[in-house]
Amino acid sequence: MAARKKQKVHIQFVANGEEVEVAFAPHKTLLEVLREDMALTGTKHGCELGECGVCTVLLDGQAVLSCLTLGLDVEGREVTTVEGMSVNGELHPLQETFADLGAAQCGYCTPGFLLVAQELLEKNPDPGREEIKEALAGNLCRCTGYIKIYEAVELAAARMRGEEAEPARETVYGYE
């Protein structure tokens, strides 16, 4: 068989705090590189056209859509996926509250919401409900009606500010 021209590019970047090297076809998006070439399947996809927010990752701390980011464009940069949110097995406070409040139903949109919420709380440690809605307006969820997600973000924000916060009774039992 005749040797084909080399088709892959080879780059280095920081993925979830670790320096990595990866080779992939140059027309691949970051979404494809993460899932197919690095087995980081925590990043999901719902349309691959920028219409749902499911594939969100953090690029140098900023939330972006991995489906519209070329893999080549992350060379030398820092990428955080949902796998990088917990450190040494300890969950990020957002992951804890999303789990505790049922903010993840099917769980498919969850990585995207978690990362956008992380970006939000880094910029604004005490967001109001309207600010949370605005910040999460680029992520669709079909299961929760978003309410448990807001409540999880609020609870995590309070805990990250050092408050000893617990969920409101009506959040978990409904109104009396």
Binding site: A25, P26, H27, K28, T29, E32, H45, C47, E48, L49, G50, E51, G53, T56, Q62, A63, V64, L65, C67, L68, T69, L70, L72, D73, V116, E134, A135, A137, G138, N139
Partner: protein, 337 residues
């Protein structure tokens, strides 16, 4: 999964390298900044450039400069999020910051750029479809086909100008700088747009949009109103940009009224502007201007919502835009339509 076709990717660090690469690439070359418009189009095979040249690493394109006498220069690669949050833009050109905040979603604003928004490909729901779908209708004249499905007897394409910033920048009298291997020109942004859904820009493909120049605000009052189904994601299906200068006695001394989202280019409604200039901005004048906009608004059936309703929305949206200029501190005011 929707995937990109194969292409050559170039990463210049200087403007002159970028434009030279484009000259080398010829008609198969395209610039990309945030990628939020081009890459979906490439995945759907609406645009299939052989060479893609990123301008994301051009430092000159990510600067914002301002001085009170000369106005503002915004680099074309400044992200929409930065436009929303930039303190000087928020102070001097609040309408620009708030219009930018209405664009798509926070994620896409993190990625998308001001230049990319101004050059946004025209949109049409016969065109913004997957390859297989377009094959099902035997394609359209904007890509791979012969006919305009929106207006089958039309010789030209009716895809819609869908940028939120374009009508506002036209209303504000912005200029854009276009650089190519052999040329460097500054033109009125109004002259950038062309009423043809295919050739929707008076910009040669080899020209790179590098800067947006905004004149000093000098008390011009501007607003932008956007009609769309949802509070995020959606492109405008009607945009109303109004920029008015009011003299001390409240008379309108200058008026720019631009409609977006209804035609292949921003639509300047001179009739409405003429009704306002030289008069106080009262209810009667506002209604007359709104009526003139309603007459000029002739959307076709190629976006979300029924076209007749979109046309009807020109009245209340113009009224609300002008009312906001008239009484910026008052709450929303409604008129019977």
């Amino acid at each position: 999964m929707m995937r990109l076709p194969k292409f050559d990717y170039r990463v210049p660090k200087k403007i002159r390298d970028a434009v030279r690469m484009m000259a080398d690439a010829g008609p198969g070359g395209m610039f990309v900044a945030g990628g939020t418009d081009l890459y979906p189009n490439m995945k759907r095979r609406q645009q299939t450039p052989a060479t893609v040249i990123t301008v994301a690493r051009l430092k000159e394109l990510s600067e914002v400069r301002w001085d009170s006498a000369r106005g503002m220069v915004i680099g074309a690669s400044v992200s929409l999020t930065r436009i929303c949050d930039h303190p000087v833009i928020r102070d001097e050109y609040p309408a620009v910051a708030s219009a930018a905040r209405l664009i798509s979603t926070p994620l896409l604003r993190n990625m998308g750029t001001v230049g990319g928004n101004l050059l946004l490909d025209t949109r049409c729901n016969y065109y913004d479809q997957n390859y297989e779908w377009r094959k099902g209708i035997n394609f359209c004249m904007k890509k791979d086909g012969e006919i305009c499905w929106v207006a089958p007897s039309s010789p030209k394409c009716w895809a819609v100008q869908s940028s939120d910033l374009a009508p506002l920048m036209v209303a504000l009298g912005a200029k854009v700088r276009l650089v190519s291997a052999g040329d460097d020109r500054l033109i009125d942004i109004a002259d950038l747009y062309n009423h043809d859904g295919i050739n929707y820009l008076h910009k040669r493909p080899d020209e790179l949009l590098t800067e947006i120049h905004l004149p000093p605000a000098n008390g011009t009052r501007a607003v932008y109103k956007k009609l769309r189904r949802r509070g995020s994601f959606d492109f405008p299906v009607l945009g109303v940009a109004a920029a008015l200068d009011l003299s001390e006695d409240g008379t309108v001394s200058k008026a720019n009224l631009i409609l977006g989202g209804i035609a292949p280019a921003p639509v300047k409604v001179r009739e409405a502007e003429e009704m306002l200039v030289g008069h106080p901005l009262d209810e009667e004048r506002i209604r007359a201007a709104a009526e003139a906009c309603y007459v000029r608004a002739r959307p076709l059936d190629n976006t979300d919502f029924l076209m007749n309703w979109r046309k009807q929305m020109a009245r209340p949206f113009v009224i609300r835009a002008l009312e906001e200029i008239h009484r910026p501190d008052a709450g929303p005011v409604t008129f019977e339509c």
